[in-house]
């Protein structure tokens, strides 16, 4: 195909991607006790993809992530200006219930935090309190564990304590727990930073599978992980979104010099 045809195909693909933006931030400013942590950020997260947010530590990545499911609400002194839109709906609007937001946008934390209960109860609790029929709960737990690639390892000990699992298993349990709620978007805050390389590889494989049915937004300080796993990458520095684009471009042809410096390891 010639250059024109290629350009057409590329722009059509771009439009396709643009049509399926599921989460957006518009001129977002987030502050803690009047100190800005996220500065005038606008970003579009496309559906059924993995978007990685990278940058040096303390640059506001986690703060931005937490604003997507209103977990910042729990932090005293946190202030937010601007908009966060989910399918066009302002998540911080007056009649939006944050509890409902979190049912649609799930989160996996940096350090695995299973409940001190059995593996089964960890996964079943969320759906049950949201009215999931008791009859189907066993199936739901099984499906969630399978989707998190943990079923084979734990199917014989569902009633044993989740605290007895290894770190990697616990994190996959937390992913299964989030999946059981049937969210549309899954936010992951450095999900592998507390894990060993083998568990990390497992979870990265899992991410690939998940993006078919879900949209993932991942904060990571591991650039190799970002380049391995994600479709889109956003580079943050000191609270600003410096550059956003397809992962390939960010890592091989960055437009911004700061981005280039960071991904080539000159700082951070």
């Amino acid at each position: 195909m010639n250059a024109n045809q290629l350009a057409n195909v590329l722009s059509k693909k771009k439009k396709e991607v643009e049509d399926k933006i599921v989460l957006q931030a518009h001129n977002l400013n987030i502050s803690y006790d009047n100190e800005l942590a996220v500065k005038d950020v606008s970003i579009d997260i496309p559906e059924h993809s993995i978007t990685a947010i990278i940058g040096p530590s303390g640059c506001g990545k986690s703060t931005l992530l937490r604003s997507f499911n209103r977990m910042n609400d729990f932090i005293l002194g946190a202030g937010l200006e601007g908009k966060v839109l989910y399918r066009g709906i302002d998540l911080y609007g007056k009649d939006v219930d944050p509890v409902e937001v979190r049912r649609k946008i799930g989160m996996v934390f940096q350090k695995p935090n299973p409940f001190p209960k059995s593996i089964f109860d960890n996964i079943a609790w969320g759906p049950l309190i949201n009215g999931y029929p008791k009859k189907g709960i066993y199936e739901l737990v099984e499906k969630s564990l399978q989707a998190a690639a943990l079923w084979g390892e734990v199917k014989d000990r569902l009633k044993s304590s989740a605290m007895a699992l290894s770190g990697g298993q616990q994190q996959r349990l937390c992913i299964a727990r989030a999946l059981a709620m049937d969210p549309e978007i899954i936010l992951m805050d450095e999900p592998c930073s507390a894990l060993d390389p083998v568990s990390t590889a497992h979870i990265e494989d899992l991410m690939f599978e998940l993006k078919q049915d879900y949209t993932l937004v991942i904060v990571t300080h591991n650039m190799q992980q970002a380049s391995r796993v994600s479709n889109f990458t956003a580079f943050f520095e000191s609270g600003y979104l410096v550059e956003f684009g397809e992962t390939q471009n960010i890592f091989t042809l960055p437009k911004n010099k700061r981005t280039e410096d960071y991904v080539s390891g000159r700082f951070g």
Binding site: Y86, R87, K104, L140
Partner: protein, 312 residues
């Protein structure tokens, strides 16, 4: 894997509905818990209101100056006199005796616990202290009357059956665990780096403790002392049983005295007619007691806060 069980409230046309009944239930629970919390605040206001309104009846008959500074306390016998100083003296002598025992012993125990003892020994000593703290005060009163007083009478001739010393000793024992526990917490909060700095200039353990650790915990230690004294001021049963019912302005620890708290008990057990001035004295004395202990508690809290600010 996709289930659609949440679609009913969160489907594409009505993504963020409100689970109404759930929210309502949450609000009711929150409100009932709120009521529980307000009850505790109400209690303070209730205490203040009760004391003020009842003491006012007393102060309509007796000027506050006479009450606070008069040195004769004979409200139940003619000629009536309402100077509270003897009662305050009685309380003070108990406090003095208690402090003499509980403060140094408590601090030394805390130093031992935090600086010298192993965790095994600590696991024996700490529960023992907790048991001592948990023994009802009436038991201590009994112990003072039937063991300490006879013991003192054997050692010294001039000890009366009811005396301040014996009560002070048991109140000291009673309060000791509180001082030890608080000082222990305070001493342990001093950073290891501070101690290591002192050792590094060639100090012995004793010098490190007395020269560096204790001085850095001073406000916490003072706070514990104040709390202990406040507790000694409010102590009732031990002094009622062992210290006597004779309001006396004396510094002799071997004679009978009467504390503010013991006086209140005496009137409650007797048949003084309610509503009369003599009876209302208990509210005036209570009010004084409340003011004193409250001030000490507030002051002690401030000291503790100051200590925490330095180390956190």
């Amino acid at each position: 894997m996709k289930n659609s069980f949440i679609s009913t409230t969160l489907d594409k046309n009505n993504i963020f509905g409100q689970g109404n009944s759930k929210k309502w239930r949450e609000e009711i629970i929150k409100f009932s818990l709120f009521l529980c919390a307000t009850l505790s605040v109400l209690t303070t206001f209730a205490i203040v209101w009760v004391l003020i309104s009842e003491a006012r009846i007393f102060f309509q008959h007796v000027p506050a100056f006479d009450f606070l500074f008069g040195t004769k306390w004979t409200p139940l016998l003619e000629p009536r006199s309402f100077g509270v100083v003897p009662l305050v003296c009685g309380t003070l002598i108990i406090v003095f005796g208690t402090s003499l025992i509980a403060l140094p012993v408590g601090l030394a125990t805390a130093i031992y616990l935090s600086e010298y003892s192993t965790s095994r020994l600590r696991s024996i000593l700490k529960p023992v202290l907790e048991v001592l703290a948990g023994i009802p005060t009436v038991v201590y009163g009994y112990f003072a009357l039937t063991f300490i007083t006879p013991l003192l009478r054997e050692l010294f001739d001039e000890v009366q059956i009811f005396n301040a010393a014996s009560a002070s000793i048991v109140v000291g024992i009673m309060v000791l665990p509180m001082v030890a526990s608080l000082c222990d917490d305070t001493l342990r909060a001093v950073p290891v780096s501070l101690r290591q700095g002192a050792y590094a200039v060639g100090a012995t353990k004793c010098e490190v403790i007395l020269g560096v650790v204790v001085p850095s915990s001073l406000s916490g230690i003072m706070a514990s002392f104040l709390l202990a004294i406040s507790r000694a001021i409010g102590e009732t049963m031990a002094v009622t049983l062992a210290a006597g019912a004779s309001p006396n302005m004396t510094i002799d620890p071997f004679v009978a005295i009467q504390t503010m708290t013991a006086y209140i008990v005496q009137v409650s057990l007797g048949d003084t007619p309610q509503g009369g001035v003599a009876y209302q004295t208990i509210f005036a004395v209570s009010a004084l007691l409340f003011v004193i202990t409250l001030s000490m508690n507030i002051f002690s809290g401030r000291l503790l806060k100051r200590f925490r600010e330095v180390y956190e």
